[in-house]
Amino acid sequence: MPDLVTHLAGAYFAGKGLRIGRGLVIFSFGALLPDIVSRPLHIFWPRTFPVAQALHSPAVIFLICWLISLFFRVDQRKNIFLLLIGGSILHLLMDMLQKHIAGGYLWFFPFSCQGFSFGFLSPEGSLSFLPLTLLLVMLVYLFSQKKSGS
């Protein structure tokens, strides 16, 4: 996974591009959700790696998004689900750019347990771009604030 600053920045840019208004927080939550549900397990109990990998798969994330949406008021439920799943898909796509020599991401779980990723960037590669990422977030934020003020 890229670090969560990069994931959150990705959600912010996508949210701005897609003009997601008040749902941006939920979309951002969706963009961190695969790591929120899987990484603590993996970091604190490394033996649970197979379970953590499954928790990071689209099928399981779909069910988690659906489950979360059911706790919302009925008229908001569908939008909440779409925002969560949209953010999660963005997360999985960003992760797919990374290279792992052992593991990878289980895109087709439970039908296949074969890991897959494109292998363009090392998982820690996003850290090198972090200053640039933060600068871009700041610029987009200032620009959108100026635009809404004029």
């Binding site: 208004g21 919302f72 009925v74 593991g103």
Partner: protein, 159 residues
Amino acid sequence: MFSDRYRLLKIILICIALIGLLFYAYGKRKDLTLARCRTDPVRFAGAEVPLYVDSRLLEIEPDRILVSQPGGDVTVMVPAEKRPVKARPGEHIEAITIFRREGYLELKKIRTAPLRKLKIVISIPPLLLLAFLLIKSLRWEKGRLVIKESPITKIQSPR
């Protein structure tokens, strides 16, 4: 899918499906380990044994490395063409190793992840920020969550 009809039943069924999938993942993904290979060295000779990114280098010697990983510490022999291993003790690594009939692992591929700890630490502030924004954006109303105007979008709302 999203109506209030059978809502509780849907919640229970989703939880059961999730638990089932996780047990399935645990049972299905039994990766090869050195211990398992040693139970039948002839059968597993030449098999790939992965060392995931939780693995940490403990010692580096010219012809071998000692790796700490969830199943216990393992020694991995480094073939001549892979020497020297460009890493330092304490660094996280992920690797593919080959089990040899004689009962040891031989390094095939290795990737070091010296910034893994930094990545984990850097990932904490965005979580705290998101938790703060969620608390500010959500309210509890008649047993359901409701999203209200978020602090970020409030600034951008048209006048």
